[in-house]
Amino acid sequence: MNLNYSTAGELLTLCAERRQSIAEITLARENNATLEPTERIFARMRDYYGLMRDSIRKGLEIESPSSSGLSGGDARKLKNYAASASPLLGAQFVKTMAYGVAVLENNASFGRIVATPTAGSSGVTPACLFSLEETHHLTIDQLTMALFTAAGIGHIIGATACFSGAQGGCQAEVGSASCMAAAAIVEATGGTPAQAVEAAAFALMNTLGLVCDPVGGYVEVPCVNRNGMYAVHSFLAASMGLAGMNSRIPLDDVVLAMRDIGRRMPRALKETGEGGLASTSSGRQYRPKPIV
């Protein structure tokens, strides 16, 4: 049984042949590749979902600023705004942002998070799934399967491109996370594997070019807000997929484009702190002392 795939095309062929979802193929492939029993793989992923919920909960409680002074307390502000009389576009939209922000605020205060796929992008997928838990009353097991959908799409990105801001810019981090989350939302809410892949393409193509220029080198500005905003972006892309929209540029080509843009992106904009927001006069005030 060959369950290996490295492109969305190959993945969709497997899904069609076996009449399985992306999540199911990904779980089966993991079992095949690692020889770990399926139940153990599933349990580990379910534990990760539990940690993701904990990090949202902890982040929403943060009131004091982080040690750099660049973040802290905004998830709470968003949560309160969501509970106000008429938040723009409705409470769930603001809450979804709050959850993404919460994870990153927790991360910035040396809290525990699950890199999905990186720490700097660890808020996007949890925010989407936790939001779905509230609106669609999905079970923990269903949300765990959604994490396998996300991982299946992440596998395609990782096979061709990369996830690190230092190599590919923020498009490789938050772009990948949003791409993975969009597909996860689609499958978790009953969409087909093909729709999930379309949603992933829409999410990623609209993050292309995002640079990694964090102020002071801290994973805070713009990362904290960005995780909240791109969680919502994932819902936008998922809606396009569920609506039956087709991307003229398929996911596999979007991933290649992301890799190409990452390679051409100047070093100054790839986590070096030498350009963009980090090198503005206000940004420079937050420069930490280098270790050496």
Binding site: A119, A166, M180, G216
Partner: protein, 222 residues
């Protein structure tokens, strides 16, 4: 990427998967290489590890790993304070590992509490994943996603045949195997990645092969 947990995971203490969690894992590799608690660490930071490492707690991460903490251990943030109590003295310096080196890389020159001296060069390649690229001046490629055996030995005919025979006897499947040497007949380093850890009995036999200077079992990373 072999496992979904390279994409989702690790569970870790923030703030950065490549600069913090990856750094912890590099430290853990260093500790495993020593096979004893470290007493001294001279840590050369390359590229982004040196320039933005403070904000990302790269220094705390590397030291946490040397102290044996997992990437999701709450003590990661306090590792620099905890190191002296654990008998570890640490010194950081800036280093240049060359154009080809990944921007998030470090070289660790380590002395064990028992006196063993080793060095390790590794890169944090994204998402908390790492690659050890050098051990004791030999080029290697170890990701920590599998169990690994490291053997420092004299380059001689039949060495790998003996090693693989021992592992075959205990039904350990070899995923990768690589030997590197500087000159024929001199010292060589062999790294064997296996799907399951080699049992102690097999390690004992491997250790006793003529010409083996040291053998280390490097468990897969948390």
């Amino acid at each position: 990427m072999d496992s979904v947990f390279e994409i989702i995971g690790p569970a870790m203490i923030g703030p950065s998967s490549s600069h913090t969690a990856g750094a912890v894992r590099i430290g853990l590799m260093g500790r495993a290489l020593l096979n004893a608690p470290p007493a001294q660490a001279k840590i050369g930071l390359h590229g982004s590890f040196a320039s933005t490492g403070a904000g990302h707690a790269t220094d705390r991460g590397l030291v946490a790993g040397l102290l044996g903490f997992a990437p999701d251990d709450e003590r990661v943030k306090d590792s620099l304070q905890l190191a002296p109590d654990a008998g570890l003295s640490v010194q950081f310096f800036k280093t240049d590992l060359g154009e080809q080196a990944h921007p998030n890389s470090a070289r660790l020159d380590l002395v064990a509490s028992g006196g063993g001296v080793h060095n390790l060069t590794a890169s944090s390649i994204g998402g908390g994943n790492i690659e050890v690229i050098g051990i004791d001046e030999f080029p290697v490629s170890i990701t920590g996603m599998l169990d690994a055996l490291i053997m420092h030995h004299v380059d001689q005919a039949g060495f790998l045949a003996k090693v693989t025979a021992v592992l075959a006897c205990v039904a350990i499947n070899i995923a990768t195997i690589r030997t590197s040497r500087h000159h024929r007949g001199e010292n060589a380093l062999t790294v064997i990645e296996t799907d399951t850890p080699a049992p102690a009995c097999a390690r004992e036999v491997l250790q006793s092969i003529t010409g083996v200077q040291y053998l280390r079992a490097i468990p897969r990373l948390p």
